[in-house]
Amino acid sequence: MKGAQILIESLCKEKVEIIFGYPGGAVLPLFDVLYNAPIKFILTRHEQAAAHAADGYARSTGKVGVCIATSGPGATNLTTGIATAYMDSVPIVAITGQVKTFLIGNDAFQEADTTGVSRSITKHNYLVKNIKDLAITIKEAFHIAKTGRPGPVLVDLPVDIQMQDAEFNYPQKVEIRGYKPTYFGHPGQIKKALKLIYNTKRPVIIAGGGVIISGASEELVKFAEKINIPVTTTLMGLGGFPGTHPLSLGMPGMHGTVYANMAITESDLIIAIGCRFDDRVTGKVDAFAPEAKIIHIDIDPTSISKNIKVDVPIVGDAKNILGQLLEELDTSRLPDLGGWEKRIKDYKRKHPLYYKKSKLKIKPQQVVEELYLQTKGKAIVVTEVGQNQMWAAQFYKIDYPRHFLSSGGLGTMGYGFPASVGAKLGNPDKIVIDIAGDGSIQMNIQELATVSTYNIGVKVAILNNHYLGMVRQWQELFYNKHYSATPLKNPDFVKVAEGYGVKGMKVTKEKDLKKSIKEFLSYQGPIIADFWVEEEENVFPMVPAGEAINRMIGGMA
């Protein structure tokens, strides 16, 4: 069997249903096999979009996303998408063509050192130099991508290997001696954690993306309810615990809720689950939860005590460890948390998320809120990066895991639209909305061609404030309103959409908002809505960079 065929057969063995990508000289043999393969291929209009689409597919379904690009520029175009997936622990397998093995290192046409370029943004990568290694490499790539702390794996495949012959034997099992993730918590650590839990008066759970990845939401709800612990979910953790649950504190950190940040600051016990204490969550590290002991559950040992010193680390899978904790929990020893509950209720009542409506202009938060109400909170929400992302996180209460997709770690503008393509193809029966900004959407707007070609019913809601809003906000607050390079002269998004054969609509009046959103949501097929919103609206509350998280500005009702 030819190498190209071996690769595609291997993907079939991995039950790959869909591949995103872009052809080119160094992957021609692969595309020749794909021509008749039982795998759906989606041609994006830029390789970066292929990586994001694979990412969106993976995040929303829990399966491994696959993308293909050619050598050189094809591969380097993938890198932003790969780095995005790496920072947010998303399992994707990226396959890149490479120049012929004997040309490697000769500065051949469309040659780039792809394994070198992608080394620090992949969980692992491979250059296949021998056809005999191809099948096992694909097996290992999928295994590494989806186990432990998931992440992107890149396989660089020279074009001559794609054309060589070998016998096809797909390995049943894979054994990598240097890779043995820990899945169950150490019993001694579980006991230590429970001891802290029995003695706490002011506990808070911080649930991160790991809760969603390990499928631990049910266990988390059980655990939180049993002990009556409030839960704050990080940007990556949104939906890991229902946003409408009475114990939910919403999001912590820089644009988190007042009550989440105050609860953390006043807490005596933080139980962090599958989160890595990003600086956007902790603010000033010395002032983060100063009175709290910290239990940290994470499958990646490097996440533990990296940013925040941890008292009881438990390395393992969040679902398993929550199961272990629930099993060992002696409910007769649980503390009375009534006082704490009351204090948090007070914070919630006094400082809810807040914005002021206006009769004259549409408020961006209002768009998100209206989308939330009219979809009954059931849509898969994908975001770009910036103000749109924060308003989406604040005002679209996510109740289900894998329903909020956002570039949290890398903060990649241009992520949302192609990621929503992947999400929609993975979840054809769900409403998928990309909440975008007028800046971000233009970073991958060429994907209108993709949604048009395949009639992918993604809905893009542009919160158009004619600025790079988040940067403008920082300029307003910290740089004397020097709006340097942030005002945007935008195209007519309706015409752009129509140029690609996609439905476009523009909404400028507050009074039309409800009706327009109804039309936007009921439309079958891809659609862009350009909402002209208040231009200088800010995301509040806000913790200035480097400040303690209880030192928030703005947004106090």
């Binding site: 080394r119 620090s120 692992h124 240097g178 490097t302």
Partner: protein, 157 residues
Amino acid sequence: MKHTLQVLVENKFGVLARVASLFSARGYNIDSLAVGETHDPTISCMTIVVDAEDERILEQIKKQLNKLIDVITVIDFTRKEYIDRELILLKINKREDTVGLIDKLISDYSLKVLDNKEDSCIIEICGDSHLVEKVLQEAKKIGIKELIRSGKLAISN
């Protein structure tokens, strides 16, 4: 503070680059690195001396190394017994006023002279880090023309 790590890795191309780029990407300092095949040809051994400001950074370095798929084991010799050796090649210029000092250095530490010319000589120093440092201090006083270090090797005992 300096710490000696023994890192067993898959003997594959690119592994050295993975380890090296991990250190540079995360801003850790490598003091020395010596690498070669072990008795098992599928495994290479790296002896890495790292300069870590504190225990937390050392812990991170070890964990990050362990996280690399091609790294099989990481042993930290910090609180363990081990034997270490380093090989140093030293070229010293001979001058009238230093010839005597050079001879004394060679005899004091029983050093091997690998090459002896009229105006310069090449000396081999092989020993543990303690000895190596002592000899180098003496040699610096005399004046070093060229210095090549193999990096430290270490084995547990």
